[in-house]
Symmetry: C2
Subunit: 338 residues, 2 copies
DNA sequence: ATGGGATATGTAACCGGTTACATCTTGATC
DNA sequence: GATCAAGATGTAACCGGTTACATATCCCAT
């Protein structure tokens, strides 16, 4: 009797419900356009047979995958984990899926990963920071794939961005140390290579110092990767010079943790001997002892906002290209007047 | 002249190189089967035109996506972040991509997410623990999709698993406290609901106590979620009873951090007043002060191993179903003889 | 010279959905 | 009753690759 080519998939459902494949497809994607009765009949068959639509086929013909790609430096960092988690929840709630990819701060790898994601048909792409391969931007523009740079605020750039103004925020953090009387201030910052946020923060620190007639002597400035080990090593380096600063501004909370741990090990009491200010306000920061004074950045909102932007673009809405996220200084126990 | 339907995609490349689509496809997927000369000519055209294969179309016809799905409770947890990062690196190195999904410890959500992933054509699936919806297992088996439960070792179960033997490991951790003379020992463990690992660890703790003639009075046992706040609350609860234990075993390092923080705030010195042992050995644990005595679990190896298993299955190899990962007790500064 | 195996390439069906277009119904309007 | 718009449903082309099968070529053994 039956054509053995129609034992599975949408054609099987169609045959069993006595309708055409078009109707089944419509019942699934645009229920309103199918009569109540048919819709119910089709749904019954679907439940009975356990039919699951073939996403690839759907993607091929509709040219939409309901999948968003994100490329971040590394997952193994509390800050990203938080943001990704938030983004993931949001996308999921909108029926989208997130594909995650990491570049290890290498823009060539990033380009490669982006090609990969595009080939897999992501509808939109979320990138970290503003430091990308030119070919990547060209690729995205030429294929008309919406994307956004997250973690920065760059209204003058042509490319969409969402995040805090890192330079201004860093300036604010440094000003706190200056306001409470510190005059000898060191900096532990992240490596600037392919990390525009790290650079912007350093610029902010420097500007605040300069505006107040101070400078940043090389022996008080160390650049390291975002790990506790490296941060401790940086602190060791700074503490080893003759003339130790009375405060240290850090480009990131993790770096601040490292500095505080190492200070404690050296017998330097925080904050009476050394004030430390961080950046990001990870969950840990308020639990530490002393609790870390830091610049709060609403990471979850930022990433969710990035998702909202992409989805809005996909739905054809005309939306602003740049979003500034508010930061705030959270003063806890790790800073004290000189 | 030209058929306007062939301005793009593989047919365009074929036309420009003067060969058939089949040859282009073969040059890409099975280079060895195409003559040196043609291969070069085709590659030139590909480079010139910037052709990127359409992954969806490829997936549809080849029925392989080179994509692996993973469902974890939450990304926002250092333990998972580490494992995912490791898995991601491995898969990426093998030309596979990872799609990540979270279930928030809810097996219905997990089933839903799994359907989603399957509909997107994942070639294999990696799940956390052994606590899943029966329909999920059925679905995977009926579709012949390789999968593995990670973070547990369960040689008696029919389903593949890789991880430490949580019960034995917890037993080991508790034995350490007993060996150094503690007789009044509390436990802060994770919620057991839909978390077989938490249960196994608790069983291990209990067995060690029982074997040594002790029990776990209710007022010394608190179950909480995996957050610092909850862990501190748990510690507060235990410290509030008349008779405070001299040691606390924790189901997880994060819980141990919370207990230590709270102890310190109460003026209890660790380890002289209170010994604390953790579980997992996150990166933080060795940096804390006092550094945390904990049960080291090689998370990165475990997840990478899960990836290796799936890929081996996909390549048709016949491989063992269960892999035990070694744990080890790392004695640092947070435990001391009574 | 002939047959057979190995290698290289082309033809076109196929994967499983979506959707433009055609067809048919129904109800309202004149 | 005729006309027409709106709504419901069916037909089949199409998305962009892969690959089974057919065909062509070349080399070597008989």
């Amino acid at each position: 009797m039956g054509n053995d080519k129609e034992k599975t998939g949408i054609r099987a459902v169609a045959k069993l419900s006595g309708v055409s494949t078009a109707t089944v497809s419509r019942a699934l994607n645009n229920p309103h356009s199918v009569s109540e009765e048919l819709r119910a009949r089709i749904q019954t068959i679907i439940d009975q047979t356990g039919y699951v639509p073939h996403g690839m086929a759907r993607a091929l013909s509709s040219n939409r995958t309901r999948t968003i790609g994100a490329i971040i430096p590394t997952i193994d960092n509390a800050m990203f984990a938080r943001g990704i988690s938030s983004l993931q929840n949001f996308l999921s709630s909108q029926g989208y899926m997130l594909i995650l990819s990491t570049n290890g701060y290498d823009i060539d790898v990033e380009l490669e990963q982006a090609r990969n994601l595009i080939s897999r048909g992501v509808d939109g792409l979320i990138l970290r920071g503003d430091c990308h391969h030119q070919m990547l931007r060209d690729l995205l523009v030429s294929r008309d794939i919406p994307f956004i740079n997250v973690g920065i605020y760059n209204p003058n750039q042509p490319h969409p961005s969402i995040g805090v103004d890192n330079e201004a925020a860093a300036h604010r953090a440094m000003m706190h140390l200056i306001e409470i009387g510190h005059r000898r201030i060191g900096v532990v910052s992240a490596l600037q290579r392919n990390n525009d946020r790290a650079s912007a923060r350093l610029r902010g620190f420097r500007r605040a110092l300069a505006e107040n007639g101070m400078d940043l002597p090389p022996q008080w400035h160390v650049e390291v990767r975002y790990t506790l080990d490296d941060a401790r090593e940086a602190a060791r380096q700074i503490f080893s010079v003759e003339d130790v600063p009375t405060a240290i501004a850090c480009g990131n909370d993790v770096l601040a943790y490292g500095v505080m741990l190492e200070a404690e090990r050296r017998g330097l009491h925080v904050p009476s001997d050394l004030s430390v200010v961080g950046f990001d306000d990870l969950e840990w920061s308020r639990h530490l002892r002393p609790a870390l004074t830091t610049l709060h950045v609403p990471t979850d909102l930022t990433w969710k906002g990035a998702g909202e932007y992409i989805l809005a673009r996909l739905e054809g809405h005309k939306v602003p290209n740049h979003y500034e996220v508010d930061y705030s200084l959270v003063i806890r126990e790790s800073t004290a007047p000189r």
